[in-house]
Symmetry: C2
Subunit: 329 residues, 2 copies
């Protein structure tokens, strides 16, 4: 079930990921057959398991309690899954990873309740680590995640936003979970406070790069490969880095700027018009400019890895950082 990323990563944590999958399956069993089936559909829908992989690799670089490490990895993967269930319901996404989302299979009410249930189970796994610091990181991560989502809803439609605002929002939405995963791994490994902080920064920067690439892919690829229409963010009026880079290259009184205002404010929703704008964004070099920013975050992320004593683990974490840049979807 677990998706292996590279050979080096796989060699180190393949069996841990399998153990984690088993732990998740055992934890989410609610004892109601029709709900179990829905939940199983969500948790086996084939994510890349990047977040738990980071947690496990970092933990293994030190001296972890094996059982607690698996519990924390399972907890973070389930927290991620729970947030996807609520996001899809909020987004009304029909597809995720090319498969129908829970929201299209059940009522919105059921999706809310199942998301809440998965949040609860992820909290149970965090508590099972028996480490109050891990629980504190877990709770803070969930709070940052929610804040990021609330900011996205309220602030993402503003074309005049600064890069800092964008960064703050995507830290919440995506960086927080990567940062929390890295931090939990370091805590459970028994790393010292300075090392924990460096590794949290690795996760944070990597998560921000991940989201920027996500925002690039959203404009670059078609429905089939990512499970969403191209330009989905634009259709929702969400201003992402590639859109900001495209905008920065337009003259102040350009009609394309005015059109972008109309699209992000919801005044223009015609698919053909939006498809044309997506084409112009692609042609403008804005996707490459945004990808360059992501590359810088990945380089900064790798820079934090010097605190990892074991060279094999350090190398695997560096490979994971490269994968974030290279993924096609």
């Amino acid at each position: 079930m677990s998706t292996v990323t590279t050979r080096d990563v796989s060699d180190l944590i393949h069996s841990d990921l399998e153990e984690m999958d088993a732990r998740i399956a055992e934890t989410v069993d609610i004892g109601i057959p029709q709900v179990n089936e829905l939940v199983r559909g969500v948790i086996t829908s084939g994510g890349k398991r990047l977040r738990p992989s980071i947690l496990l690799l970092i933990g293994h670089a030190f001296q972890p309690d094996h059982r607690a490490l698996i519990d924390a990895a399972a907890g973070i993967e389930l927290l991620h899954t729970a947030s996807l269930v609520h996001d899809d319901d909020i987004d009304h996404s029909a597809l995720r990873r090319g498969r129908p989302t829970l929201s299209t299979q059940v009522s919105s009410v059921t999706a809310i309740l199942i998301g809440d249930y998965l949040f609860a189970q992820s909290a149970i796994l965090a508590a099972a680590t028996n480490d109050i610091r891990v629980v504190a990181v877990f709770a803070a991560t969930l709070a940052d995640l929610c804040k990021g989502q609330i900011r996205e809803m309220l602030e993402s439609h503003d074309l005049d936003q600064s890069f800092d605002q964008y960064e703050q929002r995507i830290y919440g939405k995506t960086g927080s979970l990567f940062a929390g995963s890295a931090e939990m791994g370091a805590i459970l490994g028994g790393a010292d406070p300075g090392t924990i902080a460096e590794l949290r920064a690795y996760g944070r920067d990597l998560g921000i790069a991940f989201q920027i690439i996500d925002d690039v892919i959203d404009l670059r690829e078609q429905t089939r490969s990512i499970g969403k229409p191209a330009g989905h963010d634009l259709r929702e009026g969400t201003v992402t880095l590639p859109i900001m880079r495209y905008l920065a290259g337009l003259p102040a009184n350009s009609p394309d700027r005015a059109l972008l205002v109309d699209i992000t404010s919801g005044d223009v929703t015609d698919d053909r018009v939006i498809d044309a704008v997506v084409g112009r964004i692609r042609a403008s070099g804005a996707l490459e400019a945004a990808a360059t920013t992501a590359r810088k975050y990945v380089e900064t992320a790798k820079g934090h890895l010097f605190v990892i004593p074991d060279s094999r683990t350090r190398h695997a974490l560096s490979q994971i950082a490269d994968l974030v840049l290279d993924r096609s979807a």
Copy 2:
């Protein structure tokens, strides 16, 4: 802000409840003014603070760490509030405690996100107690709460359900939070395992009684006093104890039984027809029969209090149990 229940309870924990309110207000500040205003509206809407009162009283019966006790009480109250926000969205309730719910003021999406944010903050407060056992109870309580809600959605429309099924459902929906509150108070007070188990049972039985009385009030009272139409459960097709007691008194081939089948399955939705059935349920003695069951749970709950060494606290917890029976709404 805090609602005082009885003089004896108030004398013991009035200042704790004020401290708790301040802790909640400080914790939920999200730094986004328009969201802060919505959140403040939710947390100040005047609940009875029964759950944190139980936690605080039980904690005080032993030797608690004061700061941790306030954090746990704030955490449990916020968890309760978060679950109400999602419930109201699921229920499409227009009123709660006679005031408009968040769901009527903002989009369903915003209500989901604010509920999630409050869950996150309640988890932060649980972690702030610095006691992993409290966090474990917190997470298990949240899981039981979600299971109760899922069971309500899936199983509550069945007229042939057993009392055990009903009890299991309302334990999840309501009893779990009361049980968790009592258990956290006992843990933080430093009680021994046997005492903790007795006090958890006090909370559980009291919570079940609370929900039975809630189900009675739903059929007994008008919109003005409870903030919902009378017979709201019946309109939603939810089978509660008074409805089960009414049904038990009907002959097998009674047309009233057939009508009840049609109402709970959603085939009959005419308000006048349902009003008439509500009238017949009231006249049948079913409300009194259900209240008698609630009274038995309250008596059992009080029976667990013998483990409380301090007579003043024991008396106050006994008074809280009586209040659960006597509340008009």
